[in-house]
Subunit: 451 residues, 4 copies
């Protein structure tokens, strides 16, 4: 084990206490490490511009950091229990390779602004990935909505049959939801992507650091001015990032609910691809939609993370060690949520629809609303029309689902789904993803399944 950065010599290191202090930080720090390396390089370049390091030293440090980034990306450098945390690991490596020069990387910096910089880049990156995942899901949903735009199926409210709907109408709703979710992830990424570097441990530092330049180099839209605020925003920005994740997972939960119901034999509307189901250890007749159920449960992980982070934050201003406890829920929930979302496009593409079964489930009473509105369009007050139709709902028997759908022509309705407008919104949301997200950092976590 390397000595902690703050060791003054003679410190008694109690293993039980050290273990408790470290917690699950190493796992979380693995996700942060490539971002920490990148932020460190920007800080070094800034030290050069500030005259703290000369050009040759900057070059040597940046070269070594680039090499480290490559090693991290290739899995040749893995963060483990030897290091107190990722920050220690970077410095240890630089010292190992560059001797005393390595130690100078910490000039004008504290672990406090260093971890915030890594977290900021990490959150921007993962929110970008979240946006991409959402748009990939939306794309798959939109394709299927286009392909089955008018295939009739029953529409439900209160889990009771309500009106004829269509596969296109059902799926386009989720496509639109995921487009909104991507937009929200992007907004949130931009909002929180301010640069904390150069604020040290919350009180600034007696060096003329080039904070603007460092922010620009990291592609961060603005400098977070106040060093105290940098520390006070710990946890707060994490909650915003988790809030964006929650939006997407709430939609995933509802979609999974629908699929889970519609795959029941009582409905029989969809059939899941075998690879998304598993068997029972006891019951030979079962194929269980386990993947769909775990997708439904993915939100819970995020909800737990939100509660955990929030529970830490009742603190006065300034850094407190409690805040370390916000890292594992943040990285854990993002990794799990992104892994769940990554399974959606293929699931959606491989769902099989039983169109005859869906059509057959549309009963005559489901035309009652169409009929009441027709009556009211002919001048009968709606409440009257409603009562007339309610008295004889079975009289809808002669109608067809197709006609019912076709007549609902307001924008977005089953007769006018607005899919090309939705496709345009999807494209705009993709173009608006955080620029940096297109260039994923090296050293990505194993849970990330981006190609």
């Amino acid at each position: 084990v390397n000595a902690p950065l703050w060791a003054k010599g003679g410190d008694e290191l109690d293993p039980e206490i050290m273990r408790f202090l470290a917690g699950e930080d190493v796992v979380a720090d693995r996700e942060l490490l490539p971002h920490d390396v990148r932020a460190t390089a920007a800080h070094v370049a800034g030290l050069g511009r500030a005259g703290v390091l000369d050009a040759a030293d900057v070059a040597r440090l940046c070269d070594e950091l680039a090499r480290l980034a490559g090693d991290v990306a290739a899995g040749r450098f893995v963060l483990d229990e030897r290091y107190e945390d990722g920050h220690t690991a970077i410095e240890a490596r630089l010292v190992e390779r560059l001797g005393d020069l390595g130690k100078r990387v910490h000039a004008g910096r504290s672990r406090n602004d260093q971890v915030q910089a890594a977290l900021r880049l990490y959150m921007r990156d993962r929110l970008g990935a979240l946006g991409r995942r959402c748009l990939d899901a939306a794309e798959a949903l939109l394709e299927r909505a286009e392909a089955h735009a008018l295939a009739p199926m029953p529409g439900y409210t209160h889990l009771q049959r309500a009106m004829p709907s269509s596969v296109g109408h059902w799926l386009a709703g989720y496509a639109e939801a995921f487009v909104d979710d991507a937009a929200y992830a992007t907004l949130t990424a931009r909002w929180l992507a301010s640069s904390p570097l150069g604020t040290a441990s919350g009180f600034g530092v007696n060096l003329p650091l080039d904070r603007d330049g460092v922010a620009r180099e990291l592609g961060l839209g603005r400098v977070q001015l106040n060093p105290g605020y940098v520390q006070n925003s710990r946890g707060k920005f994490e909650l915003a990032a988790l809030g964006a994740l929650a939006q997407a997972l709430l939609d995933l939960r509802r979609l999974a609910w629908d699929v889970s119901l519609y795959a029941m034999p009582e409905f029989g509307f969809v059939r899941l691809p075998d690879r998304y189901t598993t068997g029972s250890s006891l019951m030979p007749n079962k194929r269980n939609p386990d993947v769909v159920e775990l997708l439904r449960a993915a939100y819970a992980r995020c909800a737990g993370a939100q509660a955990e982070v929030a529970a830490v934050l009742s603190l006065p201003g300034g850094y407190h060690r409690d805040l370390q406890a916000t890292k594992p829920p943040l990285t854990g929930a993002l990794a799990h949520g992104l892994a769940a979302l990554a399974l959606v496009p293929r699931l959606v593409r491989e769902l099989a629809f039983d169109e005859p079964r869906m059509r057959a489930a549309i009963s005559p009473d489901m035309y009652a609303t169409d009929r009441a509105i027709e009556l009211s369009a002919r001048g009968v007050p709606f409440r009257e029309a409603y009562r007339q139709i309610a008295a004889d709902v079975a009289a809808g028997a002669g109608r067809s689902p197709e006609a019912s759908l076709a007549a609902r022509v307001s924008l977005g309705g089953p007769g006018n789904l607005g899919l090309s407008l939705l496709r345009r919104r999807l494209a705009e949301a993709r173009a608006d993803l955080p620029a940096d997200a297109a260039r994923p950092p090296a050293g990505r976590a194993p849970t990330d399944v981006d190609p």
Copy 2:
């Protein structure tokens, strides 16, 4: 009690059950009512453009709705237990005044899209108010930061003395936080302000409604296309609105924590105005900072509301009555949170600072970091410098807080607080508030303390 909209005659209304069904909806609906009236007028105008109502009927209905809006604003029309909900109340009033014509307002509309429209306008309005409250707080903090920009006070991390700080540095951090919070409220308001009107109960309607026109009339930036998504976004958008509120209340909590500590006799840095304190029923010597403590607790109401809304939402697609349970936490938390934030500017302006006491609390060891960085700037590797200084922290005795502050010149640091840049950001955030928020709706809730 008026019969429910859906009563078909012969319905047995059990009072205990009706009471349970109504819950606390009437209270929540009072907040929604002015928005419901406004959305109803836009729907009526749209029915005119769609040819469902003729121009004269549109005019009569809109006149009556304008009158109702006035009555609501003036407190002459109060929603109470006579009505199943606000929607029923509006229709009952129109029928009372306009006879059968009143009933036609419900054409092409369901309570499902009606309540969503009212909620959407309500959330945009309250997020606008949230933005204003945050900027008002930021303004007060910035003024005090400017006035006491260089007054030294100790800076803490881990609740331990760290480095010299200043009143300006302390307060500017919170000012910047509230500016960010206002920006987040605005982003969120814009993101969720899509128009649900014209989607009926989640499946569209067989009328050619002018959804675009209605959205424009309500100042909503886009049509929410899919009727199913409109229903599925219930609760989800509420969580986004509460998430924006949470950001502001988390900052308020930290500020209240600081004030609460600094007002202790052990610190003695600030004194609270008498009107923000109360006495003890037992202890004659006490003046307690109750207001500050309740400001600190305001976040809890929001956290409860978030948990309550989230707990409702594990549902398949489509409307379910469970979703009614999302209204009281939403409106309750927003009302309480905005009331808390409204108290901040005056509290901040009336805080008295004991500058000598703060200055005296800066002990010699607090210059250790300055000294270590000076050494390292002279070429000593930082880790070396750190160890040298750690061995003799008392040697900082001759230094002055002013010099320490002045030397920390990086942007945002105590020697270069960037207050004019912050003031510019504040002005930009104010200019960016949702346009409509400048024109508060009639009939505002009593908890709202806007002038």
Copy 3:
């Protein structure tokens, strides 16, 4: 408005601030008032034994408190905005009737231990009511389970058909759950029912109070010894009480989910009594199970309250005004949860079962597990048997649900439901309810529907 207890004269009372300080306390205090009156009487009697009041004064105060209790119970005394809180109201009433003697009731007491005493009695009482509600629900479920013990219905796991089950098996599971919930409510009530009276504001008081006697008089099982702990247990005990409520509401949620699904036309297993359904404002064909859906949502209120209380509690030791914010969620969630549970027995008793429909939904593949176990009982290793049967699940066609159920004879299984044992457990749980809960206090909340 009466002056606050702590007013020292000359206090400037700002209405906006006073309103914020009061919050929704008055509503919560209405629930606490009868308990506060009762605890006050016990404190007065204790002051008598301690020699602080003479016997005649004790008698006069207790008489007046009994009268007040009667007035509260009869609705002749209603807590409203005139009083800072319930404690002030009691003292104001005593002073109004008894002059200076009324003021002596506060001797040796602070609002801090007074509110804790009222809360402790309130929580014990409401946990007793919770236990009763659970047992009433269990009783109704058990009756129906007995009446339909062997009526076959399909059993589901993963929302997929699994094995034949029965109505008796389905409902007995919920009966047992509610019996457990009642036991947990009782355990929790007993655990938290310690007496805080006599600890003043957290540091004791320089009077020889008879704490043991007061605890006995209130039927509280033990004295909470440490005055500091009395204050520190604020919120903590509330979370335990809400935890007990949550257990019952989680079971209610699952039961409501089942009923909600089984009432779908796709299942058609149960039909809800009309009074538990409502119509749609748009769709004439709908009967919606709104009551069942709101029962399902009742847990959310409790979850919100738990989160709200928990969010307040990150505080150092001793009383802080923040803790006032724990009252509204506690009383609100208990009132709502108990109102929800009170609707269960009648709902359960009035559910109509469509037995032919349920029987018809049992498909031949559902006997596969029975067959595999039969094979394995004849010596085929279970994994082998499983594979054999999985290869031909349709071969179960000739079997009957009755035989399948009858063969599952282990205790609790469909062929041996153990209903009489369950009935015995129910009776034991009823006998074990907190003794005091049998004698409900006067002045109960309107949401409480006990006969």
Copy 4:
């Protein structure tokens, strides 16, 4: 990788999906494994009594299970990614050693009741450990309270000086809290320790299993009768276990808050042992109370786990794969919480008190309450006395803390702390710990620091 238990041949195993299905189950299952082995042995013995296995087979299986338990305890058998879960691992091991006989262990059992049995034993065991940890903390606090029973220190409410208190009074409050927490853990353990074995996948099984005997063998107090309820109680009992943990961690949080404040230079009441503090990477002058801060944060992990489990549970009756997601938060929070509590006794024993500093912080105004009560005891109405004293709080100057403490003689007050009564309660709580908890299972998790 071993094939899943349910593999019917020809199953396509997609690695990405398998990874998502497995989640973090392997880690959680490591904690459950010894309990699973033990429950399996009890099931095997029951199969013997039911005539499904003969005595020789029972003996061979039980021997092998005992060997496995030993291997697990000694770390010779470690659960890893080769196995789908712990259940699979046990069966694979038995088959490896005993051939086909190993497969027979699954007779009359499903993974559904198997996991519940392991969880039930695990929760009872960990709640027992929780109780022990709480009592160990209480013991340390009580020792220090006895040693410093009358050492004066200021008492605070609202973070304002209130009345003289003592170290004994301060610490005894937390000792009592932890005794209560231990009692609650024990109650909860007993309440949830019913036996699920013999209920298969929620519908019983067509074998005459000896459920009572198996329950007795496992030391579980009662049979959980209904197979459906067994499945429906998944997550619900977990929330009860986490609720018990939360109680203890809430008290730990408050204690950590106090220590954190009292260790500030502004107070200077306590000094932490060096091993409980760490340095800053930037500031050479700092010693930070990191351990105390992470103890304060430990509750957050539990709060997150509670939210995560609760968010999973909105489901209809019966098993759903979603429920797997309740395992990691349960085991993670219990392991972390117990590790935090394990650090408390030594921390408490090594705290150094600065008695002169504490005594000096008691200012004359803090005697105001004593004086007001003295006046009122002499017949002045308390409200009068209050006003008189409030007008001249400085007149308390001549008093001593010792006299003030000694006069507060009601049971539990600073003059009569009731420490021997508290010690008796502690001993009773220890005697009442779940019997089985005294005999910790083999194979305990590395996070468990029991000697």
